[in-house]
Amino acid sequence: MNKATTGPLHSAEPQQPVATGSTPTGPVVAVAQPLRRRPVRRAGSRTAWVMLLPALAVYIGFVIAPMLMGLQYSFYDWNGVGASTFVGLENYTRVLTDPVLLASILNAFTLIIFFTIIPITVGLILASLIRSMRQGPVSSIAQTILFLPQIVPLAAAGIAWAWMYADTGTVNQFLRAVGLEGITRSWLADYGTALPAVGLIGSWVLTGLCTVLLLTGIGKIDGSLYEAVRLDGAGWWREFFTVTLPGLRQEIAVLATLTIIAALSSFDIIYTSTQGGPGRATLVPGISIFRIGFTQSDVGLASAFGMVLMVLVLLVVLPIQRLSKVND
């Protein structure tokens, strides 16, 4: 059915114009580009709108419309089948006062330590120490390996790590080997360790991406800046804060945005590793919404929680966009 739509793309004749080589394939820091553009002809306006139509249709139809539906549900008490009753803001009051739901929000924010702070810190340390990976087989193998967690579905990462953390799993095997028998346990079943353990799965997934992106970024910092600061007698520490960190501001902002969204809206990893347990130790908004909506059939409350989650992400992510553009 969709075959037909691929037609025009593949039938494009490969007659490459001379300018191909000079066409930027999209600089890595595309966000840095100012959005303003020089004034151009408006002749194609009508054609442009026709071309925009399909994109707008699927976006409005399957993102905006559901969002408005969710907003509507959030004001009702509805079990998904029977009659619904308008309850005003009651669902929102419940999301913001129910200790269980608040705890799941708090857990999501705790995950930021593992999804954002650890990967970016490790990435920064690694990148600033290696600075430039010389092109060669070693660097390309290293890059491949660092990227593997990005390819593995998060759900599979959850399964892999559930086994790592199991009683007879690799983590405990390692601890026994180094004589730490005393602290071995079933890491995901322990109330105290379940959340950090799940968080570290996120660190595993995201550290490689952060490292490679920061390495790419550091390669673009003017080398003479490093020479200058070294001539001044600065050590690694000062060099890091005066050259590396400012030079990577853009990349850090992007990674922070990306990883914070991943932390606040985590679902796959937790669903396949702990399902939110033990008890509610690893309950996060995504899992809560799923359970409230489909297990407890409280559609209104689940929708309200969805709206709250969306707003939370925006509230955290928008200031980061500001920060990254302050001095541009």
Partner: protein, 274 residues
């Protein structure tokens, strides 16, 4: 000079540790998968008697072939259509710049931060109303919409960088917008399109939440979504669960190893642009 040599060494060592830690869970999966299926496995052990048969059992018990087909169907439903629709919109916004185009761009970009979980409840009832619930279309349609903000943003970023002189020259030669689009813009867009295709393939193949919620029969889901079914199916055998999970992630890894360079570039650009 000496300090930087220490740093380099330290950096190498830390990198080596990072690489080992990255591989460890995958090795641990493989180790478990090769241990006897009817016993509780232990950590990472050298397989003295590797049970390769576990993979065959997992393949059959898990209906992996059927799952791959369902996944492929969903990927074919999402990726080509997304590419086409996003190319049209990206060209309109990047090259034609109609009045109000900027507002439309912001409208799309705003969609980049929406967590899928926030929409999953209404998406369920929407699919129910449309009669697509429990069919692949229940996942295909929403994914088209959910990936559209990124795809449009991505294609616009490409088209805005194409020198305007090119299309102006084409116009002077009397080409229509359609001709210019087909003869000049599309060939130039091939790298951007292939990178986007890679990302969309990966995101669809690995999509979990939507198939789990919207398709009741695990065998009709994407492979990632079927992992929950595996957990139920193999709950008694950790070796089989790991073998099944490895089978499921292999196609993506193979594709990754083949298109490695493009993958890394796409993911890096994708990360930054997204």
């Amino acid at each position: 000079m000496r300090t930087s040599r220490t740093e380099l060494l330290l950096g190498r060592v830390l990198l080596a540790v990072a690489l080992i830690l990255t591989l460890l869970p995958l090795i641990s999966m493989l180790s478990a998968a090769l241990q006897p299926a009817d016993r509780n496995p232990t950590g990472i052990v050298w397989p003295t008697d590797p049970q390769w048969g576990n993979f065959i059992t997992a393949f059959e018990v898990g209906n992996v072939w059927r799952l791959m087909q369902s996944s492929a169907f969903i990927v074919l439903g999402v990726v080509p259509a997304s590419l086409l629709i996003a190319t049209l919109a990206g060209y309109a916004l990047g090259a034609l710049a109609p009045k109000g185009g900027r507002a439309i761009l912001i409208f799309f970009v705003a969609g980049l931060t929406i967590p899928f979980e926030a929409l999953i409840i209404p998406l369920y009832y929407q699919a129910q109303a449309m009669g697509t619930l429990n069919t692949p279309w229940a996942v295909i349609f929403p994914l088209l919409g959910l990936f559209m903000p990124f795809s449009v943003f991505w294609m616009r970023a490409h088209f805005i960088n194409v020198p305007r002189e090119l299309s102006e020259a084409a116009r002077v030669d009397g080409a229509s917008i359609a001709q210019e689009f087909r003869r000049i813009q599309l060939p130039l867009a091939v790298p951007a399109l292939s990178a986007l295709a890679i990302l969309l393939f990966l995101w669809t193949w690995n999509q979990f939440l939507l198939p789990v919620v919207l398709i009741a029969d695990p065998l009709d889901r994407t492979v990632a979504g079927a992992l929950t079914f595996f957990q139920g199916q193999y709950s008694l055998s950790i070796p089989l669960l790991n073998a099944g999970a490895l089978l499921i992630i292999t196609p993506a890894i193979v594709v990754f190893l083949i298109f490695q360079r493009q993958f890394v570039r796409a993911l890096l650009q994708g990360a930054v642009k997204g």
